[in-house]
């Protein structure tokens, strides 16, 4: 999700910045120096995966992935997506400096929510596809709703555009659910230790 500079109102930018700083503080506290390579590799992987275009109907979309990252990493989703957004801006020219906080919150906060909702259920579950799909669907749906809220709350003139965002998110939710479900199903088969009893990815 990329909202560019110049669209959102000052209060919305401030709220986004506030949430982002809070999330980053919590997230970075969980990143011990031993975990730095892991966080960096996940940032790089998620940046790459979002560049893959997947055909749907006459058009194509890309995965948002905040469900998977949220399920795996919880609050650490904040530093991971911050890195991703910085790379988007540096390499691709997406996003904006002032909207960074809002964009980060839009992506990472649903990831954290999904972590609390589904991570414990996913661990050692016989149905990784189901919980992966739930995580993916809820995360991207929440992202779309938050984006629409941010737009609508910024100016009443944006409300129609906000509605378009919501409507255009519906097919994305279905596809992201299926993709996340498949991805988690594969991961739980080839690397089952990712989904052991501990609710958060912890390895030594």
């Amino acid at each position: 999700m990329h909202v560019v500079d110049g669209v959102l109102s000052a209060p919305v930018l401030a709220i986004g910045g506030f949430v982002a700083v809070g999330g980053l503080t919590v997230g970075l506290k969980q990143v011990t120096s031993e975990k730095i390579p892991q966080v960096a590799m996940l940032s790089a992987a998620s940046f790459l995966i979002t560049l893959i275009h997947i055909p749907i109907g006459p058009s194509s979309i890309h995965m948002v992935l905040n469900g998977i990252i949220g399920l795996l990493m919880g609050w650490v989703a904040f530093p991971i997506f911050l890195t991703g957004l910085l790379l988007d801006a540096i390499f691709l020219g997406f996003g904006g400096l002032l909207s960074l906080g809002v964009n980060l919150s839009l992506m990472a906060l649903p990831g954290v929510a999904v972590h609390y909702l589904f991570a414990a259920r996913l661990n050692q579950s016989q149905r990784p596809f189901l919980w992966g799909a739930c995580g993916g669907a809820v995360a991207i749906a929440a992202t779309g709703l938050l984006a629409a809220l941010a737009l609508g709350y910024s100016s009443t003139a944006f409300i129609p555009a906000a509605k378009v965002v919501i409507v255009s998110h519906i097919p994305l939710v279905a596809l992201e659910a299926f993709l996340c479900g498949s991805a988690i199903a594969l991961m739980s088969r080839v690397k089952p230790e990712l989904f052991l009893a501990t609710p958060q990815l912890e390895r030594d």
Partner: protein, 238 residues
């Protein structure tokens, strides 16, 4: 502009974005857009590539810009088949368009054009968390390595006749591809951590290179930049 310190350039980019976002007059925004183009020229941004980046960003605001003239009430501008566009809506759309493009162009010129380690050390100089800087540096380091890994997986799929279509098989395959990339990146993280331990890593990165003192070039740049900002502020609100 090449010799200007990373910290200075990052601060300048933030200041540019703040002022531009706060501005609402179209004539001033046009002047700001012009100065962003100047910055891009000073930074020697590649023309075609930069325009491509701006256009792809404009794709994100297309919905907004296209709907605003019709959804904002005000003086009649033009209309067709039941839809009427207002002058105020058109102005609002133009304002967003100029702000977004000027901000992004100045960011590309001021920040993105720096070598990546310079961006990182600039952020560190501005008090960014040390772990975050390490994450950023490692991420940039491994993007190309992981991209090659992705390419290998992709080639392996194609070699077995995979063609993206609109069906469940395609989407499942993409899901597997993403899952596999994540698994491989986590495995690599383990190996990199092991390699770091083998070289004496015990939990903290050795700090090198203190931040350089700001040079004369930095101060000259800063003064010009502040003058320009002041000029815009007086023009808009004075």
């Amino acid at each position: 502009m090449k010799g200007v310190d990373g910290r200075v350039r990052i601060i300048a980019a933030v200041l540019f974005a703040v002022v531009t976002t706060a501005c609402s007059r179209l004539d001033i925004l046009t002047a700001i857009m012009f100065s962003a183009v100047l910055l891009a020229w000073f930074a020697r941004l590649p023309v075609v590539e930069t325009i491509k980046k701006l256009l792809s960003m404009d794709g994100f605001i297309l919905i907004l810009i296209a709907t605003l003239p019709f959804t904002t009430t005000g003086t009649h501008w033009f209309g067709f088949s039941g839809f009427t566009a207002s002058v105020e809506g058109g102005q609002l759309a133009m304002e967003i368009f100029l702000t977004a493009n000027a901000c992004m162009l100045s960011f590309l010129a001021l920040v993105a054009a720096m070598p990546h380690p310079a961006i990182a050390s600039g952020l560190r100089g501005l008090g960014c968390s040390k772990n975050l800087i390490q994450i950023l540096l490692l991420t940039i380091r491994y993007i190309e390595t992981l991209r090659l890994e992705y390419q290998r997986l992709r080639t392996a799929m194609q070699a077995r006749g995979f063609q993206p279509r609109n069906n469940l098989h395609t989407w499942r395959s993409y899901g597997y591809l993403a899952g596999m990339l994540i698994v491989r990146s986590l495995d690599r993280a383990d190996r990199v951590l092991a390699a770091m331990k083998c070289r004496g890593f015990r939990g903290s990165f050795p700090t090198v290179a203190e931040d350089a003192k700001l040079t004369k070039a930095d101060y000259v740049f800063l003064w010009w930049f502040f003058l320009a900002v002041l000029f815009v502020v007086v023009w808009q609100w004075g």
